[in-house]
Amino acid sequence: MNDDTTTGSTAHPVPEAIIHFDRVVKRFGPVTVLDSLDFEVRKGEKVTIIGPSGSGKSTVLRILMTLETIDDGIIHVAGRPLWHERRNGELVPASESHLRNMRKEMGMVFQQFNLFPHMTVRRNVTEAPVHVLGLSRQEAHERADEYLELVGLSDQVDKFPSQLSGGQQQRVAIARALAMRPNIMLFDEPTSALDPELVGEVLNVIQRLAEEHDLTMLLVTHEMQFAKRVSDRVCFFDKGRIVEQGPPEQVFGEPREERTRDFLKNFLDTA
């Protein structure tokens, strides 16, 4: 019943949409985190998600990275269903091998960095290119150095994460994700765990990525000034839905919705 309409409306996702959520529902126990969410990101677009904690913004990224399942609805990434696959013309829940394939589209940067603490900086960046993409050590090595230079850490390659500042660790995490050459980069509050004086260096790296690369970027952040600078579009999330979205000038400058105004006002008051 409902399935027919769901598949019907997603058979032809907007061609340029690289990410397409169609009535996606996510529940944690009795709590509905994503409430029939429709959401789209175009190829190359830089989209920032803002909103109060618990509004489901991180969940959007975690679902895309296949760290969380969905309860209903359908998601397309690069034209293919993410959590489903077609078998004999029918959509069935995705197998692990399908998810492995889909993950190649995306890279993720976590709030807590999640670097591998027992590996050197370089090994952190080369591990997946060697063992997932099948690069030779030499190729992976060169690729790692290229991305570590991009994030300004060429001189730290042999150190362990614990020997770096939080900001440096997060930059390594960015290089590690980029080394897989994903089409989509997901940033989950990349500066929330950092001391204030270290936030700038990470944001600068992300901003440069946004300006110089045609990566599709999806960011969850509380850094409103930064969101204003890098985003093509800002989405305000509340209670598992998009309350308002538009160009940063509009959402920050003349928010249409009461809830957006309240959030931004509270945010500026406490910030």
Binding site: R103, H118, A128
Partner: protein
């Protein structure tokens, strides 16, 4: 005389000196039983930990039940069970092997929990980062999780090694000639229990203190963040 070594009862000191080599022969058996029991506990514990982690209840449940049963029953009961019941079903093991097996079974329940706790001490974020990088589950376990869990597992295993050693005297009830049993036999034959039993206590104290120091040293030397990978 025991093991072909005679004792000298002319004075307490001479007696102590003369029975020391006999007790040390018993100590060798104690150490052998400890080693065999520990190896069984290490291997079986790993198997149990793997089974208990299975998402299939049909697999995890019996392993849990076994762990619970073994932990909640006295070692001596298990030992008697193996020693007196198994032969009725045609399984006859030497007393030493029966004893070592009982120790290994008992401690496998504990080591399986050590493995589990060690693996669970690795933060969830490590699994998530590995998944986001598309590393296979096997690669994730071998290169991301295990190297971080091992330094947390080893000291706890060391403590159980010492515990096993201290439980070996229980094997004397099935006539294994470990150190306490040897001391008791010397006492029976010389009517002097004070010296051999005191010496057993002293030897145990020395062994335990040395082992504890070794574990502490090992603990300080283990890389806290995991086995380094370049």
């Amino acid at each position: 005389m025991l093991f072909g070594i005679a004792w000298d009862t002319s004075s307490q000191w001479a007696f102590a000196v003369s029975i020391l080599p006999i007790l040390l022969k018993g100590l060798v058996v104690t150490i052998q039983a400890t080693a065999v029991g520990f190896v069984i506990a290490l291997v079986l514990g790993l198997v149990l930990a793997g089974l208990k982690a299975s998402p299939l209840k049909l697999i995890s449940w019996p392993a849990r039940l076994f762990t619970e049963f073994v932990r909640d029953t006295p070692l001596l009961v298990q030992l008697f069970f193996l020693y007196y019941v198994l032969p009725e079903y045609g399984i006859v093991l030497p007393a030493f092997m029966t004893g070592a097996l009982a120790l290994g079974l008992q401690y496998s329940a504990y080591t399986s929990e050590v493995y589990r706790a060690g693996l669970e001490s690795v933060p969830l974020g490590q699994y998530e980062a590995a998944r986001a990088l598309d590393l296979s589950p096997r690669r994730t376990f071998a290169v991301i999780i295990l190297p971080q869990a091992i330094p947390r597992i080893i000291p706890a295993l060391g403590n159980y090694l010492v515990s096993i050693m201290k439980d070996v005297p229980l094997l004397s009830v099935v006539a294994v000639l470990e150190m306490l049993n040897v001391a008791k036999i010397i006492g029976d034959r010389t009517f002097n229990y004070l010296i051999p039993l005191s010496m057993v206590g002293l030897i145990y104290l020395i062994l335990t203190l040395v082992a504890a120091a070794a574990i502490r040293y090992l603990d300080t030397r283990l890389p806290k963040r995991g086995i380094p990978l370049k």
